[in-house]
């Protein structure tokens, strides 16, 4: 298809770790080349109303081959409310585009320390939000088992097989990159 050629011939702003299949991939998974820059996404954005997140600009940059979007902290301000996704007249699925961008940003090591911590919780407890003593007590008072029958309970009883495999095989994040300039 000619439109594929067109974007393949673009000179991308280079990044050493850049995955050259990125644009093909994102095109396959979304509909960015249908975007007419109408701005319905930005106008509907519940985060962008208060933050620097400008969905239309992100999609524009993407269609122009501007790789700075992968380092743009604003892509992490999307609450995935799907309002843009629902309202886009061209069926671009901006929420999915942002998700893809985040996946690539993660591959490049652009992940916030807080998000790294959440992944750590999943790997260690099987939960993004682990239990604490106060809630254990509340569970007893309510007549529930002190620990819910989830992976964490089995881990604390010594059955660690599943959680070890999850830890090893899923959500392997790249090492944190050295800070370039910043502050």
């Amino acid at each position: 298809m000619s439109k594929t050629k067109e974007h393949e011939s673009k000179e991308f702003k280079t990044d050493n770790d850049f995955d050259p299949d990125f644009f093909k991939d994102i095109e396959r998974k979304s509909n960015i080349w249908s975007c007419i820059q109408c701005g319905t996404c930005t106008a509907s954005c519940e985060s962008g109303r208060w933050t620097a997140l400008k969905t239309r600009t992100i999609i524009r940059k993407l269609t122009l081959g501007d790789l700075t979007v992968l380092k743009d902290p604003d892509i992490w301000l999307c609450t995935t409310c799907y309002q843009c996704y629902e309202r886009c007249p061209r069926d671009v699925k901006p929420t999915d585009v942002i998700m893809e961008l985040r996946n690539y940003a993660t591959k490049l090591g652009n992940i916030s320390p807080n998000h790294r911590a959440v992944v750590g919780y999943l790997k260690n407890y099987g939960h993004a939000v682990p239990i604490n003593d106060e809630v254990k007590q509340q569970r007893k008072e309510l007549g529930l088992e002190e620990l819910p029958p989830t992976l964490f309970k089995f881990k604390s009883e010594g059955d660690t097989e599943d959680i070890e495999k999850i830890k090893e095989l899923l959500f392997d994040l790249p090492e944190e990159k050295e800070k370039e300039e910043e502050k």
Binding site: S47, T51, Q83, R102, H115, L122, A128, L142, P148, I163
Partner: protein, 302 residues
Amino acid sequence: MVKEETFAFFLGCIMPNRYPQIEKATKFVMERLGYKILEMEKAACCPAPGVFRSFNKADWMVHAARNIAIAEKMDADILTVCNGCFGTLQEVNKRIKEDETLRLKVNEKLKLLGDYKVNGTITVRHIAEVLGYDIGPWGIEDKIIRKINARVAVHYGCHFLKPTKIREIDSSEKPTIIEEFIEALGVKSIPFKEQLTCCGAGGGVKAYDGNASMTIFSEKMVNIDEVKPDFILDICPFCHLQFETGQDYLNQNQSCNYDYPVIHLSQLTAYCMGMDQEFIGLQYQKMGRDFLFGEKSTEEGV
């Protein structure tokens, strides 16, 4: 064929680990309605659709498929009470059902995690959908022992309804499923400005940038405060957490004075079906600890 009237109860993270009262209430409601509720042993985080999908979509699917596989082994549909869990499990389940190539790919990695395999034999449900459509306002009338006379701010959250093409539950611009159901409990939903907007917690924003999350949330609270509801009604423990901790944050940092009780649909329904107020668990919550449903009871209810 999956077992009828039986659910594999998917707990998720925030409900069992922060708001066990919602877990208690959900079991109470479902069992009183005649459903069999089965525990999903070794289930883990769904994993959250905003956070974990952002890092690695493929792993997000595999981890979700592991949870689905547990329910498939039990031969039961999954019941969730959280928009996040529902968002993840419903979407992944739908995709592995519809796309065989994807299912094979997921299974390939899934087997590395243990004796797990997805076949696409079950359905993932949200309690609001079960109550709103399966039981319905017409069916709950006979099951409740009391109505409460309250005006509430209904918060749908995002992932219960959206993306509408995947969820296929109700309109995302003007849904009525909760309003119609709670009317049968005597509860009136009062519309407020920007009612359907996000609570500001999703997409990993609460962890990534707490200030941004609170800014989005503060507008929500201003709009809710304008109509002075008796309480905020939600259908998602993550929204629940945001409404709880958020009001507290705004009180402490922006000299607000909010004290709106935050109540999950399961808690409200459980109360109307006869669960004692102490098990509704408002005493464990940050906001509206002294709120009593009973104070607003009407005689006509029983």
